[in-house]
């Protein structure tokens, strides 16, 4: 496999917060143009994995390469990031346009003002996610799904090659979430994006992604959804009591909490 074909490459990455090991010996390769879902329970280190890829956290040891270049060597590497919606204060006095323009700020540079090119990029991003008509709305006046699209537009305004999304469907109901995944597949093709998505929703993610990685401090498996999602991996991630049902087209699972174990 040529280096150019890899969008993300992690080699034996360890991360700790204080004395607590959050990620242990993670090795992961994501090819260009792939849509990868990273599954895992809360506290599995999913968001930390993203922060490592983004260069916000330096791993204790191990190598991180983005499009063949080591992370941290030259600032912006064209990664679009969609944080969890709870990171955003909906009462903050900014409109949709302002938020999407923020995606360009790093590219514009310190002190300088946005130019024509930046304004065009913002319009393109708004159009792409289908919220052009909401440009002047204050972000608190939007639905959860619309607000999520604003964050995607902000990430796209950077014109990235790689898009990371952290629990993007947490504020959506199932039908809206499915539409959102369809939309991600669409922009993956039209913008030639590589997409990494973190979620704890096993069923939906396995339906829409090419590859699934299961994370619970360790990277348990990585492969095609139908190869990966089985009783053994579910138990490994969610503990005994996780039941996997396959009936009809949509498989689903339930997790029964053992009586003596906390959440």
């Amino acid at each position: 496999m040529g280096e150019q074909e890899l969008a993300v490459e992690l080699e034996h990455v360890f991360v700790s917060y204080g004395q607590y090991l959050v990620l242990e010996d993670i090795s992961l390769q994501v090819r260009r143009g792939e849509f990868v879902g990273i599954l895992g329970p809360n506290g599995a280190g999913k968001s930390t994995l993203f922060k490592v890829i983004l260069g916000l956290i330096k791993p204790l040891s191990g190598k991180v390469r983005i499009f063949g270049k080591p992370q941290g060597t030259n600032g912006v590497l064209g990664i679009g990031y969609v944080p969890q919606i709870s990171q955003i204060d909906p009462n903050f006095p900014v409109c949709v346009w302002d938020v999407v323009m923020m995606g360009r700020y790093g590219r514009i540079g310190l002190v300088r003002r946005p130019g024509q090119e930046d304004r065009e990029a913002v319009w393109r991003a708004l159009e792409r996610v289908g919220i052009k008509d909401l440009a002047s709305r204050q972000i608190g006046q939007l639905s959860g799904g619309q607000r999520q699209r604003v964050l995607v537009a902000r990430a796209l305004a950077l014109e990235p090659g790689l898009l990371l999304l952290d629990e993007p469907t947490s504020s959506m109901d199932v039908t809206v979430a499915e539409g959102f995944y369809e939309f991600l597949n669409e922009i993956r093709d039209s913008l030639e994006l590589t997409i990494l998505l973190v979620s704890h929703d096993v069923t939906v993610v396995s339906q829409y992604t090419d590859q699934v990685a299961c994370l619970n401090r360790l990277l348990i498996v990585h492969g095609k959804p139908d190869e990966v999602i089985n009783q053994a991996t579910l138990e490994c991630m969610y503990g005994h009591g996780a039941m996997y049902f396959a009936h009809g087209d949509v498989p689903h699972m339930v997790v029964r909490k053992p009586p003596n174990e906390g959440a």
Partner: protein, 279 residues
């Protein structure tokens, strides 16, 4: 307005306008980023600086500035490291610097009127030199805010994302804390150490009740801040009340009026969404 024929009153008026402006501009960031407790901490820390300046016979603004910057950046550093919670760090530093001030004052032997002026403000005692220093520092603050307008907005809204797109988010955060410290030092002569926080927080909080647009919030905040400072100055002259307190109470009344009349009734929503600890 025959009272404006007095030079001290002219200086007081200019000071009120200048201080009202910078406090309201910085206040917008303070409100939106949830820095009001740090602001109060920085203001109280200046007391130690002022007292030290008296003892050493140095420029009081200079020593106050050193104490304020040290407190602002010290709290910033501690909270970044995450070992001690930010509010705890502020609680410790703010009372410690205050205590140091009290200790130093006791060494001065005897009652000192000037020191009381620093605590509660004495806008009518602003000297021409004070005024110059205030104007120069205020212009410097406004220049920095103007130049880094978009960057300061971004780190206030979403620090992590600002870092992701390649802005020096940490440096900008410390710059914002520094701007707060300078604003406070510039303002203590006018409203005093104890009241300065109100002049920073109240106009911006009032503007927040009235608009959902950042630029408009900034403009409204300045209008309210300057209006309250100037009106407070005249009220204090006519009613023969202390100027700092009168300015602050004027701003407070405007705040409650705005909160009552706010189309959005956001008074109770003035709480920041605190992100869950990320994993």
């Amino acid at each position: 307005m025959d009272i404006l024929q007095y030079a001290f009153m002219q200086r007081a008026l200019i000071s009120a306008v200048v201080v009202g402006t910078v406090c309201s501009v910085i206040g917008v960031y303070v409100i939106l980023k949830g820095l009001s407790f740090i602001g109060a901490g920085i203001a109280h820390a200046s007391f130690g600086g002022v007292a030290l300046g008296f003892i050493l016979g140095w420029n009081l603004v200079g020593t106050a500035l050193i104490f304020c910057l040290a407190t602002a950046w010290g709290v910033g550093l501690v909270s970044r490291k995450g070992r001690i919670r930010e509010d705890v760090a502020i609680g410790i530093l703010f009372s410690a610097t205050m205590a140091l001030g009290i200790l130093l004052v006791s060494l001065l032997k005897g009652y000192n009127v000037d020191l009381i002026g620093f605590l509660f403000g004495s806008v009518l005692a602003v000297t021409p030199e004070d005024l110059w220093l205030t104007v120069v520092l205020a212009l410097a603050i406004l220049l920095v805010v103007g130049l880094l307008y978009k960057e300061l907005l971004f780190i206030t809204f979403d620090t992590e994302m600002a870092q992701v797109v390649g802005l020096p988010a940490t440096a900008l955060y410390f710059l914002l804390l520094g701007l707060m410290a300078v604003t406070i030092v510039v303002s203590i002569k006018v409203v005093g150490i104890i009241l300065v926080e109100a002049l920073i927080v109240t106009p911006a909080a009032t503007a927040y009740q009235l608009t959902t647009d950042f630029r408009r919030m900034m403009v409204l905040s300045v209008a309210i801040g300057v209006g309250a400072a100037v009106a407070g100055l005249f009220f204090s002259y006519w009613l023969n009340t202390p100027s700092g307190g009168t300015m602050v109470l004027t701003a407070t009344i405007v705040f409650f009026l705005a909160a009552l009349l706010s189309p959005k009734k956001r008074l109770l929503r003035l709480t920041r969404v605190i992100g869950k600890p990320s994993t």
